[in-house]
Every structure is written in C-alpha cells, then in structure tokens.
Amino acid sequence: MKKTISISIILLSIANVASARSVGLKEVSALVTSTYIFALIFMGVAILLAAVISNLIKYEGGTNPKDPGKRRMWFWIFAILGPVAFFLYYLLSVIPTIKKGPALEKFGVTHIIGTAIILVGYIVIGFVLSKMMKRGKLGNWFPSKEK
C-alpha cells in the first residue's frame, strides 16, 4: 500500500513538472526522487539512441574506414547531449516552478547531481556495453588498445 502511494506521489510530481504547476515544500521530496528517476530515464534514452545510431552506421570498406570514428563520435555526442538537455530542462522548466524559499533550498543541487548521474552512468554503462559487445558495433565506443 505504502509502495503504491509513493509511486503515485512520484507520478504526480512528474505530472507537476510536466504541467509546470507550482511545487511547494511538501512536494519537493517527491520531486527530488522523480528528478533522479528522470535522470535515469534520460540516461537510458541517451544510451539507447547512441546504440541505435551506432548500429545504423554501416561498416565501410576502403583502407581508412570512418565508421568506427563516427560511432565513437555519436557516443560522445549523446554523452554530452543527455546531461546538457537534462540540466537545461530542469534549469528552464522545472526550477522556476519551485516556490522560492525553503522548497527551493530543499531541492538544492538535485538537478546537478542528476546531471552528473547521467554523465557518469552513461559513460560507465557505455564502457561496460562496449566491452561486453566488443565483436559488435558498440565495441567501437571503447576500442581495445592492444595490438
């Protein structure tokens, strides 16, 4: 029952964020939780998009194929784009809806932590995926240096 209530509160706060309703002190705790969940969702979407685009890039022939570089480039584009989009979204769309004073103070640097979670989590998961799938196209994200 308690679990259902918490999920409901989180969903409500996400809805609040989406509808840009004013967030009071009571709702900040839920907003913090939803921010971290949002961060995880952002991270997941960024990883998914980077993986899809990397797989869509075809292996090229020739002596100096550019496709491994392109995959790496898209990985790092999403590594930057994900956290930046999250940070800007919170800065421009969410934080202005939090009531100034104790509510805003309580929210503090949650969005910055969320941004850091996205960045670090994205790179860590990207690295793990790249090593796990070194025979596939994602292997180009972190190529083996051995020769």
Partner: protein, 543 residues
Amino acid sequence: MASTDKYFVIGIGGTGMRCLEAFTHMCAMGMFDNKEINVLTLDTDFTNGNKQRTENLIKSYNSIKSYGSDGDGSVNNNSFFSAKLNLFQFVTDYDNQDKRTFRKITNLESENTELSDNQLLADLFLGEDVQEFDLSHGYRAQTHLGSYLMYHAFLETAKKLKSGKDIPESERPFASYLRKLTDAKSDAKVFVFGSIFGGTGASSIPVIPKALNDAIKMYSGGANSLDKGAKFGATLLTEYFKFNKPADAQKANKEDAVIADSSFFTLNSQAALQFYQSDPTVQSTYKKMYHIGWPIDIKDFSKDQSDSKTITGGKAQKNPCHITEFMCACAAWDFFNSDTGLEVKTADYLYKSVRYKDNRLDFNFNDFIGDGENGKLFARKFGGFNAFMHLVLTKSEGALDNDGVNSLLTRINESTQAYSSIGTEFTSLLNNYFRSFGYVFDAGVFKPGWMYQIKSTVNGSLVLDDTAYTTVAKELKNLEPGKLFSEKEYHWKDTTLRGDTFDPFIKHLKKEETEPDDEQNVSTSTEKFIAHMYKAIHTSSKI
C-alpha cells in the same frame, strides 16, 4: 580417394606453365584440400616469360603458406591456400653455347665427313634447318626432335646427379623430385600439363613416363625404377591460340630458320591425336587422358603485341591466360580425386561438352569438375575465392595502392587479438596475390589479372553473373561480394534493406562462430586468419 596417394604435377612448355598457373589458383581457391603436391616446371628456357610468371606465382603462394611457420607451411582443410605446393624446376638449359643446337649437343660438328654414320642418321630424321635452329626458345613445334632431346636431357641430368660431380645448383631439385617419385611407389599420381600442338609440351608428354623411369634407374644405379603402379594422367590440349605467321626476313636467319607456325597447329593437333591413339607406349603408360579443345574464336596472342617478329620464346613470351588452361587444371582435379578407372591397361579418353548457342559458350559451375555435389563444391570454392578477392581488391581498395587485406585484418582485430601478431609484410603478400588473381588499377587504368584474362576468352557467361566481371571503376565500386552469382539462391544470406552485403559480412566476420576450428587443421596465426576468412565467407553463403 585413397589417403596414401602422393601427388605430382608436371608443367611443360609455355602452355603447360599457364595450366600450372590455373592449377595454382585452384589450390588458392581451396580446391585441393589436404593435399601436398610436388610441382615440376619443365622447360627449355630459364628466362621464358610464362615460366617465370608461373614460378613467381607458386613462390608467392608458398610465401603466403609458409609465413610464420618453421618450414614450408602445412596442408590445411576447408580453407583457402589449403594445398601445400613443393616447387621443383628442370631446365634443359639450351642457353649454354655448347647446347644451343642439335648439332652441338650431338657433337655432329666434330664429324669429319658429311657421310659419317652419325651425320647420315641425323639427316635421315631431321632436316638441316632443324639440326641448326636455336633450341633456347624451345622445340618450335619440331616434336620428333623435341621428344628425343627431352629424353636425352632427363638421362644426361640423372647421370650427372648420380656422379655427384659438377652439378649446377639448378639441377639439384630434379634429384629431389626423382627421389619423391621413387618413394611414392604405387601411390604416385602424376599429372602432366602441356599442349599437343606446340613444341616443348607436345614433345615431352609421350616420353615423360619412360624418361622419368629411365632417369630414376640411372640416378639410382639400377637399384630403383618408377613403380609399375604409378598412375599417369595428362591433358590432350589441342590448339586454342594463334600468333603472327613468321616473316621470311625473320626466317632468313639460320638460328630462326625454324619457327612454329600457328597456321599448322590444327594439323599438328590432328597428327598428335593420331599418334597418341596408336602409340602403345603412350596407351600403356597413361591411365587417363583429358581431351580439351576450343571450338570458336581462337585467341590471337599477337594482337596487342607491337613487335612485328614472331615471338619464339624468352622473356617476351608472356601470353595471357585462357579458359582452356583452367579446364586442364580441372582435369588434374578429376584425376587426383579419381578412385576408379586407374587400373586400366590402356588409356581412357575423357571429355565433356559445354553449351554452345548463338555463337556463345556459357559455362556454369557444373561444367568444370562435374555436376551434383562436385558442381556445388566448385561453386562454393570458386565463388568464395572471388568474393574474397572483391572484399580485398574492390571493397577494401587493394587494387589501388592500398593494402586491402590489412583493412580486413583490422576489422577482425577489433573483435579478437588472435591475429595481432600478423604484420603488413604478410598482408601485402596476400594482397599482391589477389592482384595477380583479380585485377589492379595502375594510374587509373584497369589491368586484368588471371581471372579477368580467363573471362575475356569466354564470350558467354562464366560461372558468375556478367556484372561480377565488370572492369569499370564506378561499377566495381557498387559491386556486392555477396551477389556475384546470377542465381539469387546463391547470394549471401544477410543483406541490409538496401541490399548491401559488406556490412552484414563484417558483422559475421567478427562473430566468434566464424573463428577457425580444429577440422580446418590450421596452426599459425596467418593460416588461422585465412581459415577465418574462409569460414566467414562460406557461412555467409547459401551454397
């Protein structure tokens, strides 16, 4: 196929050398899995262009095989370059001034009188011009002289080898070849390549079994001989090319008074066939003889030559390759893979025909080594090696000034470190082999290798779709290695939505399941790399 069989191939003269060239490419395709083959090149001229080209090709093949191994490489299975080739050479060395003409070899010049017995005997069989022409460019279609001299050269060399004195370095390999033949006993399967309409090949084919037998006897001091159970096979290759008729001015020179005239090749072929049919020695020594001929558009070897003189031999004799030579190599495949028909008392003549319609000869994969399973095997190996060639030369730009093999290796190295020890020395060797097999762009101009030369002699289709043989750079750029066959069911399994086969192939190449297995019998990293490519190509294909 008995596993104890020992394989020997002898290429004689210019045509024999080009057959050997085709044979070597068949080995590279993986048509002779698990076989160690002793190859003897036999010619009258060290500098002959065809001989040098073939020997360089075999050396290049062996460099690829032996790279990274202690010895000369090993036999492999289900792979490209799977056969092991041991190269031996025998040259009659008529470049030597003392051996330049028949008169010099036989010491007729020292005869005091024109009525000496030796002189009279020579005059009975040979015209004066035949006795005096320069032998260093071969027997010039004088087969009656050639057979005698080739037999003589075998015995003289064997005698020298037996004595152990003053043996030139170039003659030592012949001793090894004789020893291998002796050791093989009744397991020896010897296949002889040569034409029956020219000079050196036509002269040597009838006498080779006897000459080898007598040379072994001579070399062993009578202790050994060629085992009676040794099996011989040969091609009966009739005329398929022509060249300029020699001008009178060229023939005015005593040394060039006798020059092979291609207008007589048909007559020569007819005479030779009659001889083979009636000669008891040939009939009893050869088990299988493969009739190979060319019914249309005889290739003119002089067409693109600027020299007005007829080329009699030497460095300049570097003729392009022809489909008939490939058919000869396929005859060797049939002979080596024959279990039956080898116990016959007289030679069996074999032939097969090819579709001919509207002045077109169309070859499909069932026309080379047989249909059914053999046809499929041919399609798999021929198609696979051509796909490998296009992956290297076309997709990875190895036909330009690049190392296409290294590009493919880099791709595999992204997924495994098994080949990290392979350097560019090896990859450029393999790349160059493909250039000689396929094609090369030299200053933007397309230069055909063996495969494209073969195709240029066929006015119809040749196993693959006609688009697979395009020589236009733009079309080559769009060529798909997985779609070389006209038959869609033989295209590679995986393609992208837009029909690209390179991307799915590289995906497949990087998978663990395409790594070589024990059955392929590979040990060095270079052998493993080639076997890996083979497996990736063949598991991509539906054949």
